[in-house]
Subunit: 356 residues, 2 copies
């Protein structure tokens, strides 16, 4: 999606990723390598003017060396390191008066001051729900993650919200309107993300303010997704942040004047930031690999899904599917948010990613 | 722009074009060749399932052989041939009662029944205003084009309009709302294209009806731009048609639910056609090479242009500029069409394509 936007601006953009990564077919400036490997990242980056990331799990030592040698690396490597470690991330919130759930860093053998149930998280390496567990008692705790972890109070929340903020070298900042995730209470799974949220102006303002405060205190250049819990008492608590284009901003491609991908490019190239206003209500659903299918991906139901109004599929071109792998997303725009939600639910039931 | 849409649908899309064509950098399925050469087109096409074009100036003999061998070629080669020849195009209108300016086919030495001034056109090979001339007297006529030409009555018109229509294999058709070109009366040049037009419902209906009638009578699959003159008496006359994504549909990327490029793909892949409704008023300006500059292109003023709201640049990545070469386009969207026009005019004055 970054490449699609880069084409509009005629940028010479190059990619480092593993063999068969989606954009390999769509760029002849593709380098096969491991982003966790120092040499791969350093050798790739030293030919470039500006270096950015789409995933935090990168070799930051290589990025730091590139930065020292005068390359622009956005987000800055020390910020990526902070965010790679959920413990440091929490400490940062605490030191900067960013509201977040009470927590404690934990090493094997340490005592702890939290009552069960609580949330237990790996400090490093968690992704897409992995490395996070609710533990109900001491046995579950002992059988859960080892090493450096984080214990967090379980906050009953009524909504999960997200604000995306961007900042360029000049320090200009822009936030996107706050968005909301809708849960399916039966399945206890995110059903879809929608924009605009219905949390009201006060919460929206507060969310944007916190997002700006985080990116400013980090002195970060780029785009940052700030995920919140909205508590029963309408308090916003920061759950996690991600210093890159984020799943909770995919709807901006169709729903907002400037997509998060274009905004990211504008920020790291120190261009004026684009208008983040909503053009039209939007609902985003993830296209996940169906249970029971592993192997070469086959997309079922696309033709029927395309017969609905305002349905914009974005398939990522991943070669292989496996259960719950994120294979793409679909955005539904409509002048009526309720109508968009209805169509999104229908489309969700029609689409299925299976294997050959 | 086709590639950007193809990525959303995870299509395996391949390109044939000359060395250094824009998409060479953005596809590793790029074949260097000459679309006018039989072997280049045939050898490229025989590996594919569906073959389409972005310019009419292609070797149709090769396309016809591919079609005979069972490939899907959309638009169909005999339609491309008809459209390559402005004389056959005019005959087609006449035979099918499509309103168009009175004309006469002409060979060197033929007499003619038109009073000066009239329009003189090459039947084959004209492009972007080339091969079209207003002739005021017999001397100008004799010094103008030789060979097979077309003489056309000069119709005083008040507007130039365009309707884009698409049609899939099932015969489903969808038209986009009619758009209008605004002229700068001083320079006698197209200033910009805007959507929606203000011609009113009756003219709009008639334009859509004529566009549908043309694509249906051609039995064409794909996307077709129909360019009209609107006469002083509110009569629509077909000027020219183009069986491919067209300059007068570029605004649909931001301004309409389904872009003309996605619609083209939907049509040739026999998918349901997308919603063509307007999301928001849009103004499109072409980014042309500045006078006096030839060579490696350099874009001036982009940073300032990007500081305006709703400005979406699409630079085509052409390596070299020359005066008036189409190097890209910029779409401005805004809830107010008047505001979009104002911004577009400012942006037009800011942007300049020069050479190194």
């Amino acid at each position: 999606m970054i490449l699609q936007e880069a084409m509009n601006l005629n940028l010479d953009i190059r990619f480092l990723d593993t063999q068969n990564a989606p954009c390999q077919n769509n760029s002849n400036h593709f380098t096969v390598g491991d982003i966790r490997n120092f040499d791969d990242v350093y050798n790739f980056g030293k030919e470039l003017d500006v270096i950015s990331i789409e995933i935090e799990n990168i070799n930051t030592k290589a990025l730091k060396k590139l930065e020292l040698e005068g390359k622009k690396v956005y987000p800055q490597p020390h910020i990526i390191e902070l965010i790679q470690d959920k413990g440091l991330q929490k400490n940062f919130y605490k030191e900067n008066n960013i509201p977040t759930a009470p927590y404690q860093l934990h090493e094997v053998g340490d005592s702890f001051n939290f009552e069960f149930p609580f949330i237990h998280k790996c400090r490093v390496g968690g992704y897409d729900g992995k490395g996070v567990q609710k533990v109900n008692n001491i046995d579950e705790f002992n059988q859960s993650f080892q090493g450096s972890t984080l214990i967090e109070e379980m906050i009953p929340f009524k909504k999960e919200l997200s604000v995306i903020v961007s900042r360029n070298e000049k320090g200009e900042m822009m936030t996107y309107p706050i968005v909301e995730q809708e849960f399916n209470p039966e399945a206890n799974l995110v059903e879809f993300l929608f924009s605009p949220s219905d949390v009201g102006e006060a919460v929206e303002e507060k969310g944007r303010e916190i997002a700006c405060s985080i990116i400013e205190k980090l002195d970060m250049v780029g785009i940052l997704a700030v995920e919140f819990f909205l508590t029963e008492s309408n308090e916003l608590l920061v759950n996690e942040i991600a210093p890159r284009p984020h799943n909770s901003g995919h709807h901006t491609i169709e729903g907002n004047y400037t997509s998060q991908f274009e905004q990211h490019l504008r920020a790291i190239l120190n261009l004026p930031l684009g208008n983040t206003e909503i053009i039209e209500p939007a609902v985003m659903i993830n296209v996940l690999g169906a249970k029971g299918f592993t192997g070469r991906a086959v997309y079922k139901g696309m033709e029927e899904a395309l017969s609905f109004k305002g349905v914009s599929p974005h398939l990522y071109g991943k070669l292989d599917t496996k259960p719950f792998r994120k294979m793409g997303h679909i955005t539904v725009t409509n002048p009526s948010l309720d109508e968009a939600k209805k169509i999104a639910l229908e489309v969700k039931n029609i689409i299925s990613v299976e294997s050959e």
